[in-house]
């Protein structure tokens, strides 16, 4: 593992990604300290509506005269939290199903994997939209659960494939021969050996989840106002694109840089784990 970490650190692009991820995580965590204003405070509805970027308001202000930099920073907190938590849900679930299918084999494997085939056939966004349409007000916790519960399918497939390739190796047979139980084999030998691809999937998954959540919030079915989220600020900004383009531009840039950071990091980890890929 330390060798992998060293390889990741030696990779310039991965280093940039890691630095940006850490930076954004810190900014999100300390948003209330870093941000100069309350993200929902209406500073001066008459005099400060749609102020262009300035020293006082680096990202400008919006219709309600709210400071956009503060809104984007607090949006980072919401968007990153939702992405990380829902990826956690999806990775745990996907790993569990993948392990079950790979280890059990036979009918269990068939049933699980055919179910996954069906779920993968529906575009993820449509699947989420159906759920959001049927359950009206779901809140942030509901959103995390829905995103997590609808995105573990490809994880389970990859974990299953890894399990199948690892489980036939000698050291698993050896562990079984010395009398190690199922739990010991999975915990001590199987999981550590398939951790690499899982970490890569989680890292890249967070970036994709940020995009998905932003899309839902843009459509008005994700995070509800007044809680600021990046997608929702962009939707507000589209209404005034000609007169106040900064409202839509800055949160979009924040998304691009954040997702790019996770992609750079994820690709770096992948290269470190598999020196053949480039």
């Amino acid at each position: 593992m330390s060798r992998t970490l060293r390889l990741v650190w030696q990779d310039r692009r991965a280093r940039v990604g890691l630095a940006l991820v850490v930076l954004f995580a810190l900014l999100a965590a300390f948003a209330s300290v870093v941000a100069s204003h309350d993200p929902t405070a209406q500073l001066d509805l008459v005099g400060k509506q749609y102020q262009p970027p300035s020293l006082a308001h680096p990202f400008g202000t919006d219709f309600y005269s709210r400071d956009l930099l503060s809104r984007v920073l607090h949006g980072a907190r919401i968007s990153l939290s939702i992405a990380v938590l829902s990826v956690a849900v999806s990775i745990v679930l996907g790993t569990a199903v993948g392990l079950a299918a790979g280890l059990a084999g036979g009918l269990v494997d068939q049933v699980l994997m055919r179910g996954v085939d069906g779920a993968l056939a529906m575009p993820r966004l449509f699947l989420v939209l159906v759920v959001v349409a049927l359950w009206e007000d779901i809140g942030v916790v509901g959103l995390v659960l829905i995103l997590g519960l609808t995105s573990w399918f490809d994880t389970s497939r990859i974990v299953r494939a890894e399990v199948l390739s690892v489980k036939s190796r000698q050291f698993i047979a050896a562990a079984r021969a010395v009398g190690l139980g199922l739990r010991g084999i999975v915990g001590r030998h199987l999981l550590p050996n398939i951790a690499g691809p899982i970490i890569v999937m989680a890292t890249l998954g967070i970036g994709q989840m940020i995009l998905l959540e932003a899309g839902l919030s843009y459509l008005g079915v994700g995070v509800r106002p007044p809680t600021p989220s990046w997608g929702q600020i962009i939707a507000d900004g589209q209404q005034v694109l000609r007169t106040a383009p900064w409202v839509a531009l800055f949160p979009g840039l924040a998304i691009v840089v954040t997702v790019l950071a996770f992609s750079l990091l994820g690709d770096g980890v992948r290269r470190a784990l598999d020196p053949r890929s480039q």
Partner: protein
């Protein structure tokens, strides 16, 4: 080949059946039923509600409802659109051609641009140009598709005024135009949405194609081709590209879900009158059966896309014909 196609077709039907089951489960799990707004109203007498529940079969055992639901789906009956006062399928059917047009145009951008870039990069792997292009495609891949649309709209629509920014046709003069001018009007309206939707896929395709090209270019048969003294052009086009295109065909199948999900966002940005925009409007108008119908139809299209990719792969790669 026939047996292969038949087997895959059967598999596709099974997957669509699974998707129908999934939507039925979601409909059942969701709070309330299609009549909850009627039944919770104080103005509607209980007896009328009961009568309606019977009329819609909501009082039947769940298994019967399930079989009936699947039967309806199979006949193209997706339920009723309360907003448009007609079958949900008709509402979807009217928008479908627009979405298909957008998706097809986006596919052309995705694969035209993606394969071109990927091949160019693969041939210059490790060079400065390759590095820059890699970063560009990774950045585009990290961009929310709706925001890319907004930026392009601001740039080419609002600022430069080169292209129209909303709808599929000009709302005022379209009907008075000649056939040729109508086609031109459609192309102008299609350009921004299609480029937006295609660009993200192109970035993914370029990454994939670059790797495939790198794999092939190091093979012995490429060295042999060069050693025979063939022109570099021939080596690249006839020997390398032909083999490097194969893995990208799999991407064709994978591109479909991404593409259809993307249409929802892109159609909303550009007010494109397609299935995606219909779905979003239906969600805000609580028109459930349009949403589930569109989702089932999207799944059917994905399954068909995968089927097509499988068959294409088999036709193009003789090695796979023996195996499966």
């Amino acid at each position: 080949m026939h047996r292969f196609v038949a087997a895959r077709l059967l598999q596709a039907v099974a997957i669509v059946f699974l998707v129908g089951t999934l939507t039925f489960l979601l409909l059942q799990l969701a709070p309330g039923d299609p009549l909850s707004s009627t039944s919770s109203s104080l103005l509607v007498p209980r007896t009328v509600v009961e009568q309606q529940r019977r009329a819609f079969g909501l009082d039947r055992p769940i298994l019967e409802q399930y079989v009936r639901y699947l039967g309806n789906l199979a006949r193209g009956d997706f339920g009723y659109s309360y907003r448009e006062h007609r079958p949900a399928w008709h509402a979807i059917r009217d928008r479908l051609p627009n979405t298909l047009l957008l998706a097809a145009a986006a596919l052309v951008v995705t694969f035209g641009l993606g394969i071109g870039l990927g091949v160019a990069q693969g041939l210059r792997a490790g060079s400065r140009v390759d590095d820059v292009l890699s970063l560009v495609s990774l950045t585009v891949y990290s961009t929310p598709v709706f925001w890319l649309g907004i930026v392009l709209l601001l740039l080419f629509g609002e600022t430069l005024r080169w292209l129209p920014v909303s709808g599929a046709t000009d709302p005022v003069v379209y009907d008075q135009l000649s056939l040729l001018a109508q086609a031109w009007d459609r192309i102008r309206h299609l350009t921004l949405p299609a480029v937006t939707l295609g660009a993200i896929g192109a970035a993914a395709t370029a990454r994939f194609q670059r790797a495939a090209m790198l794999d092939v270019i190091r093979q012995d048969f490429i060295r042999t081709a060069r050693a025979k003294g063939l022109a570099e052009r021939t080596v690249v086009l006839r020997h390398a590209l032909r083999n490097a295109l194969l893995p990208v065909i799999t991407l064709f199948g994978l591109a479909f879900p991404l593409l259809l999900g993307g249409t929802v966002l892109v159609e909303t940005v550009f007010a494109w009158p397609g299935m995606g925009k219909l779905t979003v409007d239906a969600i805000h108008g609580r028109d459930y059966f349009v949403v589930t119908g569109a989702a089932v139809l999207a799944a059917v299209m994905v399954v068909l896309g995968n089927l097509l990719a499988d068959i294409l792969y088999r036709v193009l790669d003789p090695r796979t014909r023996e195996a499966a």
